[in-house]
Amino acid sequence: MQKIEHTLTIYTENQIGLASKIAGLFSRRKINLECLNISPSEIEKIFRFTLVVIESEAVMKNLVRQLEKLVDVFIVYSNTNEEIIWQKMALFKVPTQNIIKNAKVERLLREFGANTVVIRDDYTIFETVGQDSDINKLLKELDKYGLIEFVKSSRIAIIKNSEGIHKKVMDMEKNHPIPDPIVNEYLDKKNLIFDL
């Protein structure tokens, strides 16, 4: 089965050690994490992990269920790139001298929608937001102007057709102790997703 990029969105409790527990589920299967971001979510005290892995659909399905089994995990979504809006952010440190000397740079930055964050005598820092291809292009260009330092963030993503989990969490709390939010959604379309 074909391996493609999948973005996992994992909603969790704020629990020390959970990040390594989640990472462990991947490492024991020898699956590489392309990137990992941990951020707050729209609900106080609930965290949102965003991970990217390159895997087959069948492996992803298994992983999602293993992740959902973790006690401190609320819910997990796995999405292909078409199903999400995603971005990364990058910072570039370039010698200020080289920029002043070169009018082209300014045009370049405008073209890439990059902003200036800091200007000092010795260096200037730019930031840009976009997908890897855009960021990499700018990187290549700025490299010509004596790039000193470069860093790119992990991917963050919003799922196009998701209502977040605000409603889900409210329901879960209201419906104390259960009914249960696990629904076998896969069952209805299992032929689409399972292949040994």
């Binding site: 050690g17 006690v71 401190d72 696990i182 069952l187």
Partner: protein, 573 residues
């Protein structure tokens, strides 16, 4: 703000012990040390309610708690100190995790302010046990203890059970806080112990079953963990479907139940393995299609439509693709299914099982269980045990050839009476697990079957027996080899017996040193009287039985082969 609850000042240790009492814990298996001393100090005043068994090694504690949990259906409890004691638990935690056994481990930890300084006996036990616990947590403040213990018991015992570990820093054991009492938990907002039952899938399953010509049921430990033995028996009795068990499912149906067609898997019975590849509908209940059950997956039941009932969604479609998946607690789903299935008998189909099993009986079972010459066999030991215990005892086994022989041949009338390390295959499990089994069922006869290899892996627990008098009937089946590995070497490595030849002490003499009565048996004529003497003895007893050196366990599904390629003899491999 007015506090409506009355509180008392209590140390973390006291709050912990109170929580254990409120959770109806009666037995704790443990071993003290520096970082857990405050808890042991508090325990000193509470031994009326909490029976603490001092083991001889922390691995013994965790396996004893495991055996206790399997036989009692309750959650086992373990105490250990930090560092080396906590790491001594690791094998047993992994064992409990893979076999879904509920255990709460309480381990001590260095003072909170010393965490991360490589303090004396500090280990990062949370990270070490993270992949082998259902949940773990570090407590650094005593006020967290009541809630954390409540969560731990709830998580360990609910849904698909498993071990949890609570790491308590020494200051949290000593410091006092305003304790308002213990409140058990039955809800954690991010945790879904069992999925919603979807009736439409039960209907689909019933339809498949009702239309089947050769339906076949595979049952596993999920039924025992879900306390659904009765519900399962009703389902089988009504549907009339031949049913076979996984190693850990043994006992859900009594051995003599007419629809019990035997054991699945690598050393299971002939008929259920062969006919797995001839049934038209396969109904898997509370089992997980382990590779020791399925053999080669691309040759596993390809002709059959598969129905899988399980509480853990991650098990469904993991190894074997199902036609109908019935998510849920089998205690709830089985009765719904039973309502919808037609009452039937599948006598022709059942006859096929009987015929193939007869073949196995003639070629393997009869000569193994009723030999008339040569040295004693493991099978004939089981024949005598069956005759003398009539399926009423608890049969605990270690790991190896004898484990397969015990599980294949021990007749068993009751559930929760077969205790063995399934998923992990942990040698050294048998003796401590049998001690735990004794505390779970003090009035039943508990056997611990061990090989001469495994017998020495936790033999120190004879000391625990010496001190507390757990009544265990210990049988060491001594073939002078690490038998199971030797068998593989014979079959697959041209009989190159690389380090499987093992010399052992006189086990009866070892027992004697522990004040345990014992005997060695070499001859057939002495076998039955010796077992009778062991059973007649009111205390623990150790019987070492010299058995044939070169016997192999058959039938066998050779690794990498399909289940229907199961062979009856070495020559057929």
């Amino acid at each position: 703000m007015a506090n409506t609850k009355t509180s008392v000042r209590a140390s973390g240790s006291l709050a912990l012990l109170d929580a254990l009492v409120k959770e109806n814990v009666d037995t704790i298996f443990g071993y003290p040390g520096g970082a857990i001393m405050p808890i042991y100090d508090a325990l000193y005043d509470h031994t009326q309610k909490l029976n603490h068994i001092l083991v001889r090694h922390e691995q013994g504690a965790i396996h004893a708690a495991d055996g206790y949990a399997r036989v009692s259906g309750k959650t086992g409890v373990v105490f250990a100190t930090s560092g080396p004691a906590a790491t001594n638990l690791v094998t047993g935690i992994a064992n409990a995790m893979i076999d879904s056994i509920p255990i709460v481990c309480i381990v001590g930890q260095v003072y909170a302010q010393l965490l991360g300084t490589d303090a004396f006996q500090e280990t990062d036990i949370l990270n070490i046990t993270s992949p082998i616990t259902k949940w773990n947590y570090q407590v650094t403040d005593p006020s967290e203890i009541p809630d954390v213990v409540a969560k731990a018991f709830y998580i360990a015992g609910s849904g698909r059970p498993g071990p949890v570990l609570i790491d308590i820093t020494k200051n949290a054991q000593i410091d006092e806080f305003d304790y308002t009492g213990y409140q058990p938990v039955n809800y954690i907002r991010s945790y879904r112990p069992k999925p919603i039952v979807r009736p439409e899938y039960i209907e689909q399953a019933a339809q498949l079953i009702n239309g089947a010509k050769r339906p076949f049921v595979l049952y596993g430990q999920g039924i025992i963990l879900g306390n659904a033995e009765k519900e399962f028996q009703e389902f089988v009795n009504k549907s009339g479907i031949p049913s076979a068990w996984t190693l850990l499912g043994k006992g859900v149906l009594p051995t003599k139940h007419p629809l019990n067609v035997g054991m699945l898997g690598m050393h299971g019975n002939y008929a259920p393995n062969v006919l797995t590849n001839e049934c038209d509908v396969l109904i898997a209940v509370g089992m997980r299609f382990d590779d020791r059950i399925t053999g080669r997956l691309d040759k596993y039941a390809k002709q059959a439509k598969i129905i899988h009932l399980d509480i853990d969604p991650s098990e469904i479609d993991k190894n074997v693709k199902t036609e109908v998946s019935v998510w849920g607690d089998v205690k709830e789903t089985l009765p719904l299914l039973t309502q919808l299935v037609e009452k039937k008998t599948h006598s022709e189909w059942l006859k096929q099982f009987k015929e193939l099993n007869q073949k196995e009986y003639d070629v393997i079972i009869k000569p193994e269980m009723h030999p008339t010459e040569g040295e004693i066999t493991m099978g004939e030991v089981m024949a005598v045990i069956n005759e003398l215990t009539q399926g009423e005892a608890v049969y605990v086994s270690d790991v190896g050839q004898h484990q397969m022989v015990v599980c294949r041949y021990a007749e068993q009338n009751h559930t929760r009476s077969n205790v063995t390390s399934g998923g992990l295959g942990t040698m050294g499990f048998g003796l401590p697990a049998a001690i735990g089994a004794h505390y779970a069922a003090p009035h039943r006869t508990v056997f611990a079957f061990m090989g001469d290899g495994g017998a020495q892996m936790n033999i120190q627990e004879l000391g625990t027996i010496l001190q507390y008098g757990a009544k265990v009937k210990i049988i060491v089946l001594n073939n002078n080899y690490l038998g199971m590995v030797r068998q593989w070497q014979q079959l697959f490595n041209d009989s190159r017996y690389s380090f499987t030849d093992i010399k052992s002490p006189d086990f009866a003499k070892v027992a004697e040193a522990y004040n345990i009565k014992g005997q060695r048996v070499f001859d057939r004529a002495d076998l039955k009287p010796a077992i009778e003497a062991m059973l007649a003895h009111p205390e623990t007893y150790l019987l070492e039985i010299k058995v044939r050196k070169d016997d192999n366990v058959f039938p066998m599904v050779p690794q990498g082969k399909g289940v229907s390629e199961i062979v009856l003899r070495a020559e057929d491999i």
